[in-house]
């Protein structure tokens, strides 16, 4: 159904795809100029091609996992009484919107997966060099999408108490783009920051899947990382459930 909804607004779909591709092009041009200006082959262990490949993938993963638009819709539903539509039906607000989010993005997913499929040809030898890497990346991507959705969902639940928290979601989204390594790889950040975010779920949102795909994270570390990522999913899911349980009691069903 979300495809049908998305296809109702063709222009929006075209513009969405174009804006993402243009973002990737801008990143490429900036980093190319930085390498030329510094006259160096390596920055923090990355060649230009490696860095561009890493950022290219990071942006794609960042886009795929970001459910901020869905979150804004969910907050609006709580604020305006639109949540009623879900509460009176035998469906879960959480699951319904997770499915809607995946559905809404699925056309974009297809476009991105075409790009990812072309990756070995655009950047030969820089990512997806083995089937195991592809398998690892796909699993880490699912984990990132789910974890990210849970984190946004917790913010959605805050609106049961404070009603208007769209600014919080937007602020988180902007911070998340930078702090999860979507624009600049986490390795480029100061040591102190890296030590702090190691205790947060942020590295699992972008850096983890991209590091697997580009071979920056050797396979022997995957299992432990997946386990920690899974624990974060479980923790954020449970916290979201608890917040919803108490939050729904505050719900006023206004506007209807």
């Amino acid at each position: 159904m979300t495809w049908i909804q998305t296809l109702e607004y063709r222009a929006n779909l075209y513009v969405g795809l174009f804006s993402i591709l243009s973002g990737i092009l801008i990143e490429y041009l900036i980093w190319k100029q930085i390498f030329v200006a510094r006259g160096t082959e390596l920055i923090r262990g990355f060649t230009l091609n490696e860095l561009v490949a890493f950022i290219f993938l990071s942006m794609i993963v960042g886009q795929l996992k970001s459910s901020w638009v869905t979150s804004i819709e969910m907050i609006e539903a709580i604020r305006s009484g639109g949540l009623n539509k879900y509460l009176i039906r035998p469906i879960s607000f959480y699951t319904y919107h997770l499915m809607m989010f995946i559905g809404q993005n699925s056309l974009f997913y297809m476009a991105y997966f075409t790009l990812i499929a072309a990756f070995p040809f655009i950047f030969p030898g820089l990512a997806f060099t083995t089937n195991f890497q592809i398998f690892g990346f796909m699993n880490a991507l699912i984990l990132a999408v789910y974890l990210s959705y849970n984190m946004y969902y917790m913010m959605v639940c805050v609106s049961f108490w404070f009603h208007e928290v769209r600014a919080l979601v937007i602020a988180y989204n902007v911070a998340n783009i930078i702090l999860s390594g979507q624009i600049i790889p986490l390795r480029f950040f100061p040591e102190v920051y890296l030590k702090i975010i190691a205790f947060t779920p942020l590295p699992f949102l972008v850096d983890f899947p991209v590091s697997i795909a580009t071979g920056q994270l050797p396979p022997e570390f995957w299992a432990s990382k997946f386990l920690i990522g899974f624990c974060w999913c479980l923790f954020t899911w449970a916290l979201g459930k608890i917040m919803y349980y108490f939050g729904i009691k505050q719900y006023g069903g206004y506007g209807a």
């Binding site: 159904m1 049908i4 909804q5 109702e8 607004y9 009484g81 009623n84 539509k85 509460l87 009176i88 039906r89 035998p90 469906i91 729904i248 009691k249 719900y251 006023g252 069903g253 506007g255 209807a256």
Partner: protein
């Protein structure tokens, strides 16, 4: 589906502020909260197959009661039991048996045709394909919207949208249906079609309906029983006609003489009955008993050219009632 509402109360906390920038700043720095008691100690029992009208002015608590009954809100106090279910626990088995139509709130998906929303409802309620097809055809025919099924919901007229809302609400054949202002903003033909349809559905499936409406014609046509809420408290629970009689027991008489009787005869009659005489037509609004006596007296004077005894418009009666409900009960 039987409903038992016991000692239900619901309060909301909100903050108050004065208008303007100063008020906004004051409220930002020192917010003053106040508690509003939307419902207080409400008791109501509804039997299977009943259509009960919930009456009250704006802000009386009608919609809050409906929201509590379908589990949208948690009560501050009291309990509701609907066929063994507590609504706010929102068990799937319960949700599959109820439906809500809120005339002022769109429950269909705005950007896609209603037919797509119906398909989604089929999946949500797990309606078998054959049953879904049969029910949809039946509802679409009854409400006469065959040609609108594939039109984007946002492009439908208010009446068409309301019909689609009703179809979406009934596809899973619920046993308990709450209609909150289902005919609001509709033209008289659409109102009447929706009323007929509700009646049909109630008789066909023995479904229980709870209905709020500001159109007294809706209530008169559909509900034998009404529950009146005033300032959050239950004020009356009983027969609608009895309530109307209690408020204004008068009926309207129009009696036309072939030619006007002698003036002194009329003046004499007016000492006993309150009526008007304009040329050769008598009009009076009197209680049943007095009206029968007046009619008898008029017949003694002469045979009428025409005469009629009518009920007073129920809208007017209820307007009188809501101006001061305590006075009548």
């Amino acid at each position: 589906m039987s409903i038992h509402v016991k000692n239900i109360s619901k309060s909301f906390t909100s903050f108050k502020r004065e208008a303007g920038l100063k008020g906004a700043l004051q409220s930002f720095l020192n917010r003053k909260y106040e508690t509003f008691h939307a419902l207080q100690n409400i008791n109501l029992d509804v039997d299977t197959g009943e259509i009960v009208g919930i009456l009250g002015e704006n802000g009386a608590g009608k919609t809050t009661l409906i929201k509590l009954m379908v589990g949208l809100l948690y009560p501050s106090e009291g309990s509701i039991n609907i066929d063994g279910y507590t609504p706010w626990n929102r068990k799937n088995e319960f949700l599959k048996q109820i439906s809500v139509v809120m005339g002022q709130k769109n429950q269909l998906w705005w950007d896609i045709p209603a037919s797509e929303s119906f398909l989604l409802n089929q999946k949500i309620y797990e309606i078998p394909q054959a049953e879904y097809k049969k029910t949809l055809e039946e509802l679409v025919q009854l409400l006469n919207v065959e040609d609108k099924l594939n039109v984007q919901v946002r492009r439908l007229s208010l009446g068409e949208r309301m019909k689609m809302e009703i179809i979406a609400a009934l596809l899973h054949k619920p046993k308990f249906i709450l209609l909150d202002e289902p005919t609001i903003g509709l033209d008289v033909i659409s109102q009447s079609k929706i009323r007929e349809f509700i009646k049909f559905y109630n008789e066909e499936y023995n479904a229980t309906f709870l209905l709020t409406s500001h159109y007294m014609n809706d209530i008169q046509a559909l509900c034998d029983r009404v529950f009146v809420i005033h300032k959050g408290r239950g004020l009356y629970d009983g027969n609608f006609s009895a309530l109307v009689n209690k408020i204004k027991p008068q009926k309207k008489l129009i009696f036309e003489f072939p030619k006007a009787p002698e003036e002194d005869v009329i003046v004499n009659l007016q000492q006993n009955f309150d009526f008007k005489m304009i040329r050769n037509v008598v009009t009076a609004e009197l209680p049943d008993k007095q009206l029968t006596m007046l009619l008898g007296s008029l017949f003694k004077l002469d045979d009428p050219v025409t005469f009629s005894v009518e009920e007073l418009p129920v809208e007017d009666t209820m307007k009188t009632f809501f101006s001061n409900p305590e006075k009548f009960l």
